[in-house]
């Protein structure tokens, strides 16, 4: 007998109990914008859906002196409407704004985008350059991992049975720091990244870059933090030569595939262009203009 079970716990503890005790294939349902499509046509399997949108702390975002505590299931429409968050993490907000359409953003969430763990996910590079931490709750307690550790492969992550991503923590950026995210799609919206690049830079009072993080998406099995690209920016005034070097380092770090969305050569080239342009935007923002 095939059964499809839906549960909507109202606390993290209750959710963990359900997830850890489940005896059939279990899926955590946030916005469902990826999940429901993946479930189409699976008529022969019993499944348990655990809807986590009834858990208040999953749906909230708090910005404080320490940084951002983001409830993973807050929908992108609410998230991107938060001017306070945008002022601090403009790159992450613009990444979230690129997911799906206006309608989809009423359901889709940053946590869902992260847990779906697509190589082309828009928010993952932006989370990486902001040094985001994933707080995972389970029956044995909580653990924290970086986003780089969280995502393990194409559509896979480090979460185990009975675990739930309960919080995404972003440290407060240092003074004169900003970020940017760019992706390439052949159209204007409603598409999946052919390549993506997020860059965060910190400047000193002289305009010299003292810290940088660069992450590229859709050009490897997971989004990659590219230290060589960051190194190309650090110590420079983010002039054209430095930006080009960062772009070249990003291209060199990419290991893309050829598929219906792009070729190896094209993706490798474009990820460099995006890195350069994102670094330029992040620099402009960090300079405060």
């Amino acid at each position: 007998m095939v059964s499809v079970v839906y549960k909507a716990p109202d606390s993290i503890q209750a959710a963990i109990s359900i997830l850890s005790e489940a005896e059939i294939a279990t899926k955590i349902l946030a916005g469902g914008t990826d999940l429901l499509i993946q479930m189409q046509g699976l008529v022969n399997e019993s499944r348990l859906f655990v809807d986590i949108k009834k858990i208040p702390e999953m749906m909230q975002a708090t910005l404080g002196d320490q940084g951002l505590d983001l409830g993973p299931s807050m929908c992108c429409a609410e998230f991107t409407a938060r001017e306070d968050i945008r002022a601090v993490y403009p790159g992450l907000v613009e990444a979230a704004f690129l997911i799906g359409s206006t309608q989809v953003q009423g359901r889709a969430s940053v946590g869902g985008n992260l847990c779906n763990s697509s190589p082309a996910a828009d928010t993952i590079p932006a989370l990486m350059v902001n040094a985001a931490i994933c707080v995972i709750a389970g029956v044995k307690g909580e653990r924290s991992v970086s986003v780089e550790e969280f995502v393990t492969g194409v559509g896979t992550n480090c979460m185990e049975k009975g675990e739930l991503l309960k919080l995404i923590q972003l440290p407060r950026p240092a003074k004169n720091t900003s970020d940017a995210y760019l992706r390439f799609i052949p159209r204007t919206e409603m598409d999946i990244a052919v390549a993506g690049a997020a860059v965060s830079v910190t400047l000193d009072d002289e305009g010299v870059c003292t810290a940088a993080r660069v992450s590229i998406g859709a050009v490897a099995p997971t989004a990659l933090l590219v230290q060589e690209a960051a190194d190309a920016l650090i110590g420079t005034k983010l002039d054209d030569k430095a930006l080009q070097a960062a772009g070249d380092a990003a291209s060199a770090a990419a290991s893309p595939i050829t598929d219906r969305r792009g070729t190896v050569e094209y993706r490798r080239h474009v990820v460099g262009v995006l890195t350069k342009r994102a670094a330029q935007i992040a620099a402009t923002r960090a300079r405060g203009n």
Binding site: V43, P186, T263, V270, V273
Partner: protein
């Protein structure tokens, strides 16, 4: 056409009669009909692009408790090879049968093999996996150039090339060859100061109609059957289905639902005959709805083409010779629009020497269907690109070059007739004077211009207008409304009867409530069905005059008709339509008029499009920043819907030029069978498309109408590709101009 007729309703922008139902969601589309006791049908499709079917074992599926019927090719009554025309493209009835359900061979990934009807949609889907098919996999033939090679795997071992000087002695993938010529091209090229020739490629594309194919059918105990479906031509669904199932036409009623787009793709049958077999075998109504994936893989896309065009011109821009070789993919069965491609390729030009050859070639892709001016966009793309290159190399403005050689009244076409009065010159003049053409471009921007031609057709249309006792009326037409044609019918009838448009209700009647109507295609409906409406309205007027004459006790010849009022020319009496209809019982019964015609004299429509693009030199991405579509409508009955046709044609053509293509892997399996990766343009991808309606009346239509539905998709391919070429300094010969291809062209240049 009466000169300078003053119109009361024609040319206004009225509210479309079908609008309320559509915006409120009340309108019923193909998948919206459910019947008591109805069950669901699903189709098992080939996982291979090319394979022999060694065996089909249905036993396990038959044993499934919810399965009520299974259909395979064996369920067709004996079908024999026979040329058959229903819909837009001629076909062979045996090919149609073997496309609907494969016989002993599957010819494309997604080719239907068997269908199951079960108590639920999920049970039907589930039971498909119980059908066991044994295949002998064959190498797929995926490109027209490969298919034409002597060593290519042959799809049909009984197909011999037609149209050769010497009969073919061995089977091949080339179904037919045709040749059109006038003058002497060798002599023409000898006169030329400049000869440009190039190879071009256009990919397989889909019409991209939003509504998937869907049908609900009921086969009754007494042999009567009903089909409800989304189609551009329910009379031709009846003809095809009845032929396949060996049924008399009178036993089969076909009802056309509202239609969510067709563009030529809904002019043949896929599900309907299969659903009827399932209904007959199960004794229950059957519903079948394609998924989007099935629509891409197994309905009829537009042909991919490879072509070679060579054009010669003198220094002053006089074109001396035009030559083309056009190879069209037909998909799995013969019958690409290669013929119209050959006929349209050079028709915008009045040139003495032309030579055109065309090849219709089968490949392991779905059988192509009509797609908006079938064959013309691909063919004219190649011609217009070379024309633009000649203009550029001779340093002549592309509009001036075209004006110097433009087809006009009296031009001898390469395919037969001389052109009557046409509006190409007026379109070119309007382009020259357009704000867009006067505007300046910036860095990384380019401008492209192209002309386009499509014949338009007439054909059979039947209309009945039933008058009501209050003077209102119902227009029964049989042309499914895919572009706002009901509004045009209403306006034309109102104009002729002289009564307000809201007094007339246009309805698309089923196959039993109005006589035969040819399929909505060839931009024929407003022209041909419109003429039938006018004739039916004139028939009503004739009867109204007779009734008025009876009331006044005079002859009908003594009655005049003006503005919906009968006038007694022997006195001062007047009778309105409402007054005559109210008392119709006293003068011989209620009034109905008919117009049953075979419309002749369709007027060709020429267009000129202007496209400005900006190219990102680092990514190869193309943004269309400005676009103007100029086209001769003859007479725009409802200008908003004429503009909508121009804009829609331009939008589809821009998609074809920029991003749309079927992407196949090495096994011949389509990898982008969905709207995520088959990239039609989004609203945000396009600028507002500016339109200019040119009105050079077609003298064969009472109001001057030409068709407008198709020509608009012909110019965009070359207009866009030329604009991109201008922006990057490399001629883009292969479509689509997708970012990787444009970037490769930029990099290849340096």
């Amino acid at each position: 056409m009466s000169e300078a007729r003053e119109f009361k309703y024609i040319g206004q922008r009225t509210i479309r009669p079908d609008g309320y139902d559509k915006v409120t969601g009340r309108a019923n589309y193909g998948a919206d009909l459910s019947l008591p006791g109805m069950i669901w049908g699903k189709i098992l499709r080939s996982p291979h692009a090319h394979a022999n079917i060694k065996n089909i074992d249905l036993s396990k599926a038959q044993a499934h408790p919810d399965v009520l019927a299974i259909a395979t090719y064996q369920d067709f009554p004996h079908v024999q090879s026979e040329a058959f025309q229903a819909g837009e493209v001629p076909t062979d009835i045996i090919d149609l049968a073997r496309n609907v359900l494969a016989d002993d061979k599957v010819l494309y990934h997604g080719h239907a093999i068997a269908a199951i009807a079960a108590r639920s949609e999920s049970a039907a889907q589930d039971a498909l996996s119980l059908i066991e098919v044994e295949y002998e996999v064959l190498p797929p033939v995926m490109d027209v150039a490969d298919a034409m090679k002597p060593e290519a795997a042959v799809l049909h071992n009984n197909m011999f090339t037609q149209g050769l000087a010497e009969p073919a002695d061995k089977a091949s993938n080339i179904a037919s060859r045709m040749e059109l010529k006038k003058g002497d091209v060798a002599a023409g090229f000898a006169l030329a100061d400049l000869v440009v020739e190039r190879d071009f490629y256009t990919p397989t594309v889909h019409q991209g109609y939003i509504e998937p194919h869907a049908t609900t059918v009921r086969f009754e105990e007494n042999g009567q059957a009903m089909v409800w479906c989304s189609t551009q031509g329910h009379f031709d669904v009846r003809a095809s289905t009845a032929k396949l199932l060996n049924m008399p036409l009178g036993k089969l009623k076909v009802v056309a639902s509202e239609i969510g787009g067709g563009f030529g793709g809904k002019t043949t049958v896929y599900l309907e005959p299969v659903a009827l077999i399932l209904s007959r075998k199960s004794g229950k109504p059957v519903k079948m709805v394609m998924t989007r994936d099935e629509v891409f893989r197994a309905s009829g896309p537009g042909s991919a083409t490879r072509s070679h065009v060579k054009i010669g011109a003198m220094k002053d821009g006089t074109i001396t010779a035009m030559q083309a070789s056009l190879c069209f993919e037909a998909g799995a069965f013969k019958g690409s629009p290669m013929g119209p491609g050959c006929m349209t390729v050079f028709t915008p030009y009045d040139v003495e020497n032309m030579y055109i050859e065309g090849y219709d070639v089968v490949v392991n892709k779905p059988k192509v269907a009509a797609y908006r001016a079938p064959g013309a966009p691909q063919a004219e793309f190649a011609a217009e690109m070379v024309i633009n290159e000649i203009a550029s190399k001779l340093g002549i403005d592309p509009i001036e070059l075209r004006l110097r050689n433009a087809a006009k009244e009296g031009t001898q076409t390469v395919y037969g007739p001389k052109l009557k009065r046409v509006g190409l010159v007026e379109c070119l003049e309007a382009a020259k004077n357009s704000p867009q053409y006067q505007s300046a471009l910036k860095a990384n921007q380019g401008r492209g211009l192209a002309a386009g031609f499509w014949f338009n057709i007439g054909g059979l249309s039947s209309v009945t207008i039933n008058m009501n006792p209050d003077g209102s009326g119902t227009i029964l037409e049989g042309s499914p409304d895919i572009g706002g044609s009901r509004a045009s019918m209403q306006m034309m009838a109102a104009e002729e009867l002289g009564i307000p448009i809201d007094q007339l209700k246009p309805l698309v009647a089923d196959t039993e409530h109005v006589a035969y109507n040819a399929t909505t295609g060839g931009s024929r409906t407003t022209f041909a069905t419109g003429m039938a409406v006018i004739e039916a309205a004139q028939d009503v007027v004739r009867q109204l005059k007779e009734r008025a004459a009876a009331v006044w006790n005079i002859t009908a010849e003594q009655v005049d008709w003006a503005d919906g009022v009968a006038i007694n020319t022997t006195g001062d009496d007047r009778l309105t339509v409402a007054e005559i209809c109210k008392d119709a019982e006293k003068t011989g019964g209620q009034i109905a008029g008919t117009g049953n015609i075979n419309a002749r004299g369709a007027g060709p429509s020429f267009a000129v499009h202007l496209c400005d693009v900006e190219v990102d030199p680092d990514t190869g991405k193309v943004d269309v920043i400005r676009y103007t579509a100029i086209q001769d409508a003859g007479k725009a009955i409802h200008p908003s819907y004429v503009e909508g046709q121009y804009q829609g044609g331009a939008a589809q053509g821009i998609g074809w030029a920029l991003n749309e293509e079927y992407i196949y892997n090495k096994d011949g399996i389509m990898e982008n069978a969905g709207f995520l990766d088959y990239r039609i343009p989004l609203a945000s991808d396009l600028p507002m498309i500016e339109t200019v309606i040119i009105e050079i009346p077609n003298s064969f239509h009472p109001f001057g109408v030409r068709g407008v539905g198709e020509t608009g998709i012909v110019p965009p391919l070359a207009a866009v590709a030329t604009a991109v070429s201008e922006a990057i300094g490399v001629v883009m010969t292969d479509l689509p101009c997708s970012p990787p291809r444009v970037l490769a062209a930029i990099h290849g240049k340096s």
